[in-house]
């Protein structure tokens, strides 16, 4: 049941995109996010589409795999589209009872849908082409300047990497607990939302208890291996920011500035 989750999944590879520095990729996604909210015309999404397709092709990520990652946002997508479709005032095209669809509504709904889809696609490209450790290393480096003003950059990165490490373990455990509760006659599939939510309690309680025990043991194992925060810590895999990284970062930056102001 939880097997479909592709968040944080990584597809190992040797492509140009795979080999880019994680900082380059994180910054590119940031630029992309800002740029895409500046687009004013529907046709300018052709530009974004071309860019996204190029990245997919260069990274050699199977399209089907990428589209599967859109499944979790499907509900949000429908909700957003519906909201904009029916609630935007303007020139009325169709009227269904109390609801009306406007030209502006259609425009806005498609804008929002496209933005969401491209955002998720681009963000999953980041995680699909970047090893989790390298992603968190990149984040730590990017946040390092803010450490001076008290942002716990190293701790945040460590938390994220531990979370990524334990997601599959906890998913497995949830599966096991659900099976155990089902064997005892628990029913997760029928009833209204409230009843279903209530039937999750016997899953969540043991899951939390075990997660706390795991956290405790993990902390001890980390201490036993001489972990004491970022102080005096070196890394086996060091990030190298190459010339190509600079070019890609600047390229993405200027493309998105262009998109923001001119498209």
């Amino acid at each position: 049941m939880f097997r479909d989750i592709t968040i944080g999944q990584y597809l190992p590879g040797e492509s140009f995109i795979h080999r880019l520095d994680p900082r380059t990729k994180i910054l590119s996604v940031l630029f992309f996010m800002v740029g895409i909210f500046g687009l004013k015309h529907l046709y300018s999404y052709l530009f974004v589409l071309a860019l996204t397709l190029t990245v997919i092709l260069v990274a050699r990520i199977p399209l089907g795999y990428l589209l599967k990652g859109l499944k979790p946002i499907f509900i949000i997508l429908i909700f957003t589209v519906g909201l904009h479709l029916f609630l935007t005032p303007g020139q009325i095209l169709v009227e269904i009872g109390p609801l009306s669809i406007t030209l502006e509504g259609i425009m806005k709904a498609s804008f929002m849908a496209l933005r969401l889809i491209f955002l998720v696609l681009f963000a999953s490209l980041l995680t699909l082409t970047t090893a989790p450790m390298s992603l968190t290393d990149g984040l730590e480096k990017l946040l390092a300047p803010f450490a001076k003003v008290g942002l716990p950059a190293h701790e945040l990165a460590m938390m994220m990497s531990i979370a990524l490490r334990f997601i599959p373990t906890l998913i497995d455990e949830t599966d096991k607990i659900m099976k155990a509760q089902k064997a005892r006659g628990a029913d997760f599939e029928s009833g209204n939302i409230w009843q279903r939510a209530k039937s999750m309690i016997p899953i969540l309680v043991p899951l939390f208890v075990s997660a706390f025990r795991r956290a405790d043991e993990l902390a001890m194992a980390m201490e036993a291996r001489c972990y004491r925060g970022s102080e005096g810590r070196t890394r086996m895999k060091q990030l190298v920011y190459r010339k190509t990284d600079l070019i890609v970062t600047l390229g993405m930056g200027s493309a998105m500035v262009a998109a923001f102001f001119f498209l």
Partner: protein
């Protein structure tokens, strides 16, 4: 050498209630030896193990690791880099998302330079028979493989002592064998001192020395043959005895004289025929 001198450890619970988990333990652990600690649940084995690398410090008494006092806060990291520790649950001691990053974790904390870490990681993975698994995610490994990765992560830090707290308890027979072969090889070939805590008597029977704990005290110690021949004592401590040793003891009681210290079926066959 690790010198444990009259150590008492008291856990304080929230309700001001105190539990004395170690009641005056004295034990010397020699370099290069393979020491096994057995004892019933709650006898204080884990508490003792955690004293060996300053995860716990004694309430009374002293633990000296190569002469370094475990109560000295300046020595904590020095001691922890000498005494490596492997825990029971393989899932809860792997930190990183790939095998090689996990093995590198300890070395990174020691501040070793990047090229040297890479060499040590490859070396450690080869030693535990996991070469070629560097890029795998821990999630996809078997229990025995995870536990060997955990061992690799510790030996990459080049410790002198390796303390293992029931590393085989959650493994299937095959995983157990993999882990036991690995630590025996580390002991023989790399000269690592092993302190192995277990509930499995066949693992204890391969040790140089066995220490039996009960209620926070050491109640017996000696070579496996001496220990297991004390069938009555072990039974009274609710512990298993190797089946052949138990049979030998029964035969002796029945009047047939066989060697009380024999451990295996082969030895029993030799003794009888």
């Amino acid at each position: 050498m690790i010198k444990i001198d009259n150590v008492i450890h008291t856990y304080k619970k929230h309700s001001d209630e105190e539990v004395q988990a170690l009641c005056g333990i004295s034990l010397d652990i020699q370099e290069g030896e393979f020491l096994v600690i057995i004892g019933h649940n709650g006898s204080g084995k884990s508490t003792l193990a955690k004293h060996l690398n300053t995860l716990l410090i004694p309430s009374e008494g002293q633990v000296l690791i190569d002469g370094l006092d475990s109560t000295d806060p300046d020595m904590v990291w020095n001691i922890r880099s000498r005494v490596g520790m492997v825990f029971q649950n393989p899932d809860n001691q792997l930190i990183a998302t790939t095998v090689e990053d996990d093995v590198a974790f300890g070395c990174e904390n020691l501040g070793i330079e990047s090229g040297e870490i890479r060499a040590r990681v490859d070396d450690a993975l080869a030693t535990v028979g996991m070469a070629g698994f560097g890029n795998k995610e821990p999630h996809y490994l078997s229990g025995g493989q995870k536990q060997r990765v955990a061992i690799a992560g510790v030996i990459a830090m080049r410790p002198k002592y390796l303390v293992l707290d029931e590393p085989t308890a959650m493994l299937d027979p095959r995983g157990r064998q993999e882990v036991m072969e690995t630590i025996h090889r580390l002991n023989k070939e790399e000269g690592l001192t092993i302190v192995h805590i277990t509930h499995y008597m066949e693992e204890a029977s391969q040790a140089d020395r066995v220490v039996v704990m009960e209620d926070g005290k050491i109640v017996a110690q000696g070579c496996p043959r001496e220990i297991f021949s004390q069938v009555k004592l072990l039974k009274s401590l609710r512990m298993d005895v190797p089946p052949m040793t138990e049979l030998a003891s029964i035969l002796n009681e029945a009047g047939l004289e066989v060697d009380k210290t024999l451990l295996t079926v082969e030895e029993m066959v030799d003794a009888l025929c």
